[in-house]
């Protein structure tokens, strides 16, 4: 069974953050748009309503809003000579599923990268010399600058109603904000959230040590807000069920709260759910796409959907998978370093120290996703890479985001994981611990990449994507450096006890415990068609009517949570399409 549907101007693959942004921006041009979402439809009501969604087992543990590995997964190996095995159960990262994508279940941390992160290779070479870059490190420049992207960060932050405190407005350093951030054109649209006890304690300790604490920029509204599309947010009530959950309260910025109801009013926009795109179809000369082919779950048939413009807006990993399956860009070859699609997959190097205070009541269940306090005194633009022996940086931060008990109760060293002592431990220590974390960069390496698995297939018979990834000494040195900065802060706070968890020498990637859903690279942007899959406007070098959104474009990972940059790049690409591409469709570079 198969059918061919009438041609559309635009087909968008995936209806999360970037699909929604591109959808509404291109709908304003009057184009006939179809978005294809492989998961289910989702709306605040009924899908995120109170109290049904306040269910830790269903959503926090069984991952009710995430992709099911049965429907979509990857294989993993750590080295080129290891046999990759499928990720049969979710663990390390949690791609979203359904309308809204990961945009419904994030915590809401919304950062801008440092200026030097967009031109990391040039910055390192100019500042410290090319010789400090390890032989196997394949870092690149993005091909855009902080200055060029600033208006698009501003756009995303004002669309999403970000709560925060500016540290640098047009070069003027402002007390209470991040003094090390790139200049921004104006303050955040909403003031910072109130801070929890752990964050206030960290702020005081950091200040006493001469650091520069500031509130984390949060996509949890601190006050009522209406955005440019007329969508309204209400103030966050610190329900303690943010990450892994849809927001009960219209407070967390998401496609649902910020875009979709406005987008659905455009008669020239339509979307289909349970419609999984199988491949991008290319013209015979392979220089353009002719549309996509998708699986219509309801009709149980393959559908050919012709379109003039194809926007890949699925999760970063799935965009790369579709490119590999469709022949968009030469697949990357780690032996020769040639090829571009799948190149420079990177993750996030995090670590942390947990502090125990028997006389402090942290009430960890009283939490927003991204309230908290950070310092950027050890950010990537504050470190002498030559002196310290690594390239990278971290923000250091405290701020509880939930107190859900199945997801884990921190216990002091020596308390066993079961039995009478464990039970005593949870009674003694629930609500009496806090943590200080390091959220750090993860750079790109010759043998960290994505390609098609030779053995395992998905439910449509397509090869799974294979991830080759491991931790590298440079990034382990970075996180150990952060440990050396965090532990003195922790000790200065006089906890009853504390314990640390940072990657050490020889650490290997473990796909089982949750780490972060910050999978980047594989469809990287850049200035050279032989070294990047996309040009600076997220346009495929080889097929000018294919644009690829998401963190797959990052040539290596930044030290921050990716959503701010993903949102800014989406608006940047949307403007290029609207102003430059649509009047004259062609390669923009």
């Amino acid at each position: 069974m198969a059918r061919t549907d009438p041609k559309r101007d635009v087909v968008i693959v995936g209806l999360g953050w970037t699909g929604s942004i591109l959808g509404i921006e291109l709908a304003q041009e009057g184009l006939d748009i179809l978005a294809l979402e492989r998961g289910e439809d989702r709306s605040t009501v009924p899908d995120f309503r109170y109290p049904q969604v306040i269910d830790e087992l269903k959503y926090g543990i069984r991952f009710g809003f995430m992709q099911k590995p049965r429907n979509s997964t990857i294989t993993l190996r750590r080295t080129l000579d290891e046999e990759a095995q499928p990720m049969r159960r979710l663990g390390s990262f949690l791609p979203g599923d359904g309308v809204g994508g990961a945009g419904i279940h994030w915590n809401g941390q919304t950062w801008r990268p440092m200026e030097n992160e967009y031109r990391l290779r040039s910055y390192v070479e100019e500042t410290f010399g090319a010789e400090i870059i390890p032989e196997d490190m394949t870092i690149q420049d993005w091909g855009v600058t902080a200055e060029e992207l600033e208006p698009f960060y501003d756009r995303f932050e004002y669309m999403a109603g970000i709560s925060g405190q500016a540290g640098n407005i047009k070069g003027e350093i402002l007390e209470g904000g991040n003094p090390f951030e790139a200049p921004r054109s104006r303050d955040y649209p909403l003031p910072p959230l109130p801070q929890t006890t752990d964050a206030l304690m960290f702020e005081q300790a950091a200040k006493a040590m001469g650091y520069h604490p500031f509130p984390r920029p949060a996509a949890n509204a601190s006050a009522a807000y209406t955005n440019e599309y007329g969508m309204q947010l209400g103030p966050c009530n610190f329900c303690g069920f943010c990450e892994r959950y849809g927001c009960i309260n219209y407070s967390k910025a998401s496609p649902q709260t910020c875009i979709l109801d406005a987008l659905k009013r455009y008669p020239n926009f339509a979307y289909r759910v349970n419609s999984e795109v199988l491949r991008v179809d290319l013209a015979n000369d392979r220089k353009t796409a002719t549309g996509v082919t998708y699986w219509d779950e309801e009709a149980q048939e393959e559908v050919t959907q012709p379109a003039d413009l194809v926007i890949l807006a699925a999760y970063s990993l799935h965009n790369v998978h579709l490119m590999l399956l469709s022949g968009i860009g030469e697949p990357y070859n780690p032996q020769t370093g040639e090829g571009v699609t799948g190149k420079n997959y990177a993750y996030q190097m995090n670590g942390g120290t947990t502090l125990f205070f028997k006389d402090v009541e942290f009430n960890p269940f009283a939490a927003a996703g991204s309230s908290g306090i950070s310092i950027d005194d050890f950010a990537i633009n504050q470190i002498d890479f030559a002196a310290e022996g690594f390239i990278g940086g971290s923000y250091i931060t405290a701020g509880q985001s939930n107190g859900q008990p199945i997801r884990g109760i921190a216990l002091p060293s020596g308390v066993p994981s079961w039995g009478a002592e464990w039970k005593k431990g949870i009674g003694d220590w629930y609500g009496h611990s806090m943590s200080i974390g390091s959220h750090g960069s993860n750079l790109a390496y010759r043998d960290c990449f994505l390609d098609l698995d030779p053995t395992y297939k998905d439910r449509h018979g397509r090869p799974l994507m294979r991830m080759t990834f491991n931790w590298k000494p440079n990034d382990i040195r970075m996180t150990q450096f952060m440990r050396s900065k965090i532990e003195p802060i922790a000790q200065s706070m006089n906890p009853d006890s504390w314990k640390s968890s940072y990657k050490g020498d020889g650490a290997r990637y473990d796909i089982r415990p949750y780490q972060t859903t910050h999978n980047v690279g594989g469809a990287i942007m850049g200035t050279d068609p032989n070294a990047s899959a996309l040009n600076r406007y997220l346009q495929a070098w080889g097929q000018h009517n294919v644009f690829v959104m998401g963190a797959g474009a990052f040539p290596q990972n930044i030290q921050y949570n990716p959503t701010g940059a993903v949102g800014a790049l989406a608006y940047w690409a949307a403007e290029a399409i609207r102003k430059d591409y649509l009047p004259n469709p062609r390669p923009l570079v």
């Binding site: 109170y50 109290p51 049904q52 306040i54 269910d55 830790e56 087992l57 543990i61 069984r62 991952f63 099911k68 590995p69 049965r70 997964t73 190996r77 290891e82 046999e83 095995q85 499928p86 990720m87 049969r88 159960r89 979710l90 663990g91 109130p194 929890t196 006890t197 103030p235 966050c236 009530n237 610190f238 329900c239 069920f241 009960i248 402090v360 009541e361 009430n363 269940f365 009283a366 939490a367 107190g403 008990p405 199945i406 994981s417 079961w418 039995g419 464990w422 039970k423 949870i426 009674g427 629930y430 609500g431 053995t455 395992y456 297939k457 290997r508 990637y509 473990d510 796909i511 089982r512």
Partner: protein, 230 residues
């Protein structure tokens, strides 16, 4: 009938006053009035009688009843586990279950067993009970608690090796026991929200704005998704 909003915490959220004491005597949580089947008369959906006895015994050692706070038995964790194994979780409904399977792969690559969680319990219980019978003369459930602990410690350390396909059995058993202890009571465990009361987790209240930044104990007891209070 007591209005719903007066069906207050057994901890007494007004705490210590005469009024609170009077209210507390009036306040009988609706859920407590519902008859629950005693565990020894519970008819499992998935587990056999022998497997039920094993799960009862193992849970009672993973979260024992003595000391402060409920044990897994008071929380009715075995009911939770039985229901989970009878449902999507037990059937590996969300997992990627296509071969080839290499269950002996490096553990860091994640589970690679061809067995569903329900099957891992079935085969794992059989294997441990066989080991107990061969070495200690009876299945786990009939051993003294000290001997049960010895067996479970051997299982947790890997000294009692069940083979690659059952490698996850212990981790699943501990994880599922904690899930049943802390999950919303709608899933059959956390009976009377006792574990939430014990640690001070307010369950599904989900509204704490006025409590942010206050270093003092939160005064209200938990509510569950069904709207019951404890």
């Amino acid at each position: 009938m007591t209005p719903k909003f007066l069906q207050s915490s057994r901890r007494g959220f007004l705490g210590g006053t005469a009024a609170a004491a009077a209210l507390t005597t009036l306040a009988v949580p609706a859920r407590a009035q519902v008859e629950v089947v005693p565990l020894d008369r519970y008819q499992p959906d998935y587990l056999t009688a022998g497997e039920w006895a094993f799960v009862m015994a193992a849970c009672a050692r993973i979260i024992p009843s003595d000391g402060d706070g409920p044990g897994a038995i008071e929380a009715r964790v075995p009911v939770f586990i039985d229901r989970q194994l009878a449902g999507d979780f037990g059937a590996a409904a969300d997992l990627y279950m296509e071969g080839p399977f290499n269950p002996g792969s490096d553990a860091y690559l994640g589970t690679q067993t061809p067995l569903t969680p329900a099957r891992i319990y079935r085969d794992g219980i059989a294997a441990v009970d066989q080991w107990c019978t061969d070495n200690l003369g009876s299945p786990l459930a009939e051993l003294e608690p000290e001997d049960q602990d010895t067996v479970l410690r051997a299982l947790s350390s890997g000294d009692l090796n069940l083979g690659d396909e059952l490698r996850e059995f212990w981790a699943l058993l501990v994880q599922n026991t904690k899930e049943g202890y802390f999950a919303d009571p709608r899933y059959g465990g956390n009976h009377g929200m006792q574990s939430w009361i014990y640690i001070g987790f307010p369950g599904a209240r989900a509204n704490y704005l006025e409590w942010i930044g206050r270093n003092e104990a939160y005064p209200l007891g938990p509510v569950d998704i069904a709207g019951e209070r404890a």
